[in-house]
């Protein structure tokens, strides 16, 4: 019971963080048709910016300033990079975002070095929120959940209650028509790209000190984010939400499960499998398979349900 509740909470924290990252990506993908490989780089930049700002003026200003800076960088990249590449076609756009991702990937260690940063949880939040049976639940995890849920509600309200939100929703499926009605679609694209980058940056700000801030973090999280949008369905925020939480929970639980396949077979009375290749394979623990699970789910999803859980489009 204790294991279950703590894993639930940890999975929830991780899942919500994943959603903050993938919400921008899935909006950009379905609206502009651009698979933005640089999205996770904004996450990394968020963490590094927050670290740097917190060294100078503390964590709380960094929580606000870093995402805004990342948002501006994102908007500039869209306006002066992506918009020009757009004329050359989707392959050029894709390569452009891969290029941007690699440039950021190489730039970060040039500035901050290759070792992990000493980006700490702010002292005000460095205490135990509550103790569940024997496990402590840190206040910072609670703070992460709070920030993620707050952003989620804000995003939902903007998308459904404001005029610009309605324009964004309409442009998800019919950008040409939105333009023909007199709305400045390129400006909407720039805005969404900027806000998406800012959300990824914010995820970096609150995730960088909870997990780790180092040059490999963009790559580590980038591939998971793609799984989220494929599993959730292209362009579906609801799908991305369900997929983020699902993947967060699956991964957290898998890592914590110490059983092997052989144990499971033994439980159902099949314990006479001889050692050898098959026997060795069965002694793999579930926790060892955790890193593979998201990608396995993505591959199966693409084969059996290419439009994802809630995607509107087939492609």
């Amino acid at each position: 019971m204790e294991f279950f509740l703590i894993s639930m909470l940890n999975g929830l924290t991780y899942g919500l963080l994943l959603f903050m990252l993938s919400s921008g990506l899935t909006l950009i993908l379905s609206m502009m048709g651009v698979l933005n490989f640089a999205h996770a780089s904004f996450y990394m930049l968020g963490a590094y910016f927050a670290y740097q700002i917190s060294v100078f003026i503390g964590f709380w200003p960094a929580l606000i300033i870093a995402p805004i800076l990342i948002g501006i960088i994102g908007a500039v990249i869209e306006r002066y990079g992506l918009r020009r590449t757009h004329k050359t076609g989707h392959v050029a756009e894709l390569l452009f975002t891969v290029g941007v991702a690699l440039v950021i990937e190489e730039l970060v260690p040039l500035i901050w070095g290759r070792v992990p940063m000493d980006y700490k949880i702010p002292p005000q939040l460095d205490f135990t929120l509550f103790t569940l049976f024997t496990t402590d639940f840190p206040a910072y995890r609670g703070f992460m959940i709070f920030i993620s849920v707050f952003m989620l509600v804000l995003l939902y309200l903007v998308l459904t209650r404001t005029r610009i939100g309605l324009i964004i929703q309409a442009a998800l499926t019919h950008p040409d028509m939105v333009g023909a009605l007199g709305h400045n679609v390129p400006r909407v694209f720039m805005l969404v790209f900027g806000v998406g980058a800012a959300l990824a940056g914010l995820a970096g700000v609150i995730g960088g000190n909870a997990f780790v801030t180092e040059p490999g973090m963009a790559f580590a999280v980038g591939s998971i984010v793609f799984v989220v949008i494929v599993v959730g369905g292209m362009g579906s925020l609801e799908g991305a939400f369900v997929a983020s939480l699902g993947l967060g929970l699956i991964q957290t639980f898998m890592v914590a499960i110490d059983y092997t396949f052989a144990d499971v077979f033994a439980m159902v009375g099949l314990d006479s499998i001889p050692p050898g290749t098959v026997g060795d394979m069965l002694s793999v623990k579930f926790s060892q398979m955790a890193p593979m699970m998201p990608y396995l789910i993505m591959v199966l999803m693409l084969i059996f349900r290419p439009r994802g859980l809630m995607g509107a489009r087939e492609s």
Binding site: L166, A170, M177, G179, A180, L181, V185
Partner: protein, 231 residues
């Protein structure tokens, strides 16, 4: 009011329009006829700035070629596409609101006007546009573009696949649009309503204009009808 001169349009490497000349006067209903694939839809998309073009498009004495679609819309052109393009995840009312170019805009048409003309839309105001019937979607897309208060509206195949009763309603709305001083460029495949309501007609074949004249002239010209229109 709208004047196309030697208009060429391209989709990638294929050359779709081969030098089209066409004009629409103020308060006039003009129809563009032709079989599928001759370039009618490409022509209206070109005017709206959605296709690569060469040539000249002047609207109210100003050149439109090279402008972005939203700028062209702000100059007073409205466009109702063939596929209707309703925003499926938004309600009927939200679709209409997005037809307005800004929150403050006041024009010839209000949402209540639309609901009075098509009471069915009022009943469906809070329904998602993706689940209403094809006829209702056609009314919605027409009304949505009118909400932007255009001076000239281009309508691509508004009667395609609609029941006769709804076709009659659409024809009534076109009359009402004209009565409010708005020019109409109607794209049609069939002659059904075009002959009744247009002042002038163009027939298009292979990316060129092959006939221009009044409904009477087209009625009397059976070679043109046989070669370019009848199936």
């Amino acid at each position: 009011m709208l004047q196309l001169t030697d208009l060429h349009a391209y989709y990638g490497k294929s050359h779709i329009l081969h030098g089209v000349d066409l004009h629409v006067g103020k308060g006039e209903i003009v129809s563009l006829l032709g079989r599928n694939g001759v370039g009618r839809s490409t022509m209206v998309k070109s005017i709206m700035g959605q296709v690569d073009i060469q040539g000249s498009i002047r609207f109210q004495e100003e050149e439109l070629v090279g402008l972005a679609p939203h700028t062209i819309a702000h100059r007073g052109l409205g466009y109702v596409p063939e596929d209707r393009s309703v925003f499926p995840g938004l309600t009927v009312k939200q679709n209409l609101l997005l037809g307005m170019k800004s929150n403050k805009q006041t024009g010839r048409w209000s949402i209540d006007d639309m609901f009075d003309i098509f009471p069915r839309l009022r009943e469906r105001a809070d329904t998602l546009a993706g689940v209403i019937s094809g006829g209702e979607q056609q009314m919605l897309t027409l009304c949505r573009t009118l909400m932007g208060d255009p001076d000239l509206i281009m309508i691509d195949e508004p009667t395609e696949g609609l029941a006769p009763k709804i076709v009659a309603q659409v024809a009534e709305l076109l009359d009402e649009i004209k009565n409010r001083g708005i020019s109409i460029l109607l794209v049609e495949q069939k002659l059904t309503i075009a002959l009744k309501i247009s002042q002038r007609l163009y027939v298009m074949g292979h990316g060129k204009i092959v006939f221009e004249g009044t409904p009477e002239a087209l009625r009397g010209n059976s070679p043109v009808r046989e070669e370019w229109l009848e199936v």
